[in-house]
Subunit: 152 residues, 2 copies
């Protein structure tokens, strides 16, 4: 696979990232993917970018953003004061699914988390995404937990 | 129930919090509950206390810490740039279980998250904790997700 790059997201990538978030069975119901980017995404991106414990990473292919996720580093008391890496908002463009790029991207991000002193990396997956379950287990995640959400 | 107070944890509470984390079927296998507090807990507490997006809250009864949890505020792009509240390390002392104090504590913390502009609050529960499932559903959480963990 040619010209694949993993890197931190910049503000110029935001429109592509929002497109990826919305190009999804569940995401299409909750994202505002109008041609003018909703200012709420800009504010959120700025808050993430300004926070040393939050970072969005992207997959770039031939100058285009083809994947994204957010890594949050959380200081925690459990497990004798272990830092946790929390992953949210994972998307891989349809054109790259099944190519192994998603696995490579995850391994690259896991290495970032490990170097940031994380002892645990965690994520939740909507149980409706049945195909994604095997992907995470292949990378080394274990589905030991139930994920609860409450929406205000 | 008399003399119950919900408040932010202070460094003086740390020994009691670590005791609560360890007084648990799963926690007893992973916490260092020796009489001298392991310095790793001190370092973690300091990192949490210094971070405006992380806070440990406790239940105090008659001057003693009887419950705890950590709330992390995460800026996020999904759901049109909604902040998320993430809850970790929930413990209620055995003496207070079934009294409704846990529910009151959670409602108080959820209000903190709502006032901090969170649109979602989330947590994961080890699937082995079968008794706790109903507790979270009663408060308003929905068990829609699978929680994956990877330990380095």
């Amino acid at each position: 696979m040619r010209d694949i790059l993993f890197r931190q997201a910049q503000i110029e990538d935001l429109r592509d990232i929002v497109r990826l978030l919305g190009d999804d069975e569940l995401g299409s119901q909750r994202e505002k993917t109008t041609s003018d980017l909703d200012p709420s995404y800009m504010h959120a991106f700025e808050a993430i970018y300004a926070d040393p414990h939050n970072c969005i990473y992207v997959v770039e292919q031939e100058g285009k953003v083809k994947g994204c996720l957010q890594l949050t580093l959380i200081p925690n008391l459990s497990f004798a004061g272990a830092w946790r890496g929390q992953i949210e908002g994972v998307r891989i463009d349809r054109s790259l699914r099944g190519t192994g790029i998603g696995t490579d991207f995850f391994r690259w991000v896991l290495e970032k988390a490990r170097k940031s002193n994380c002892k645990i990396v965690q994520l939740t997956m909507n149980a409706a995404r049945t195909k994604t379950h095997a992907f995470y287990e292949k990378i080394g995640f274990e589905a030991t937990h139930t994920g609860f959400k409450l929406y205000f």
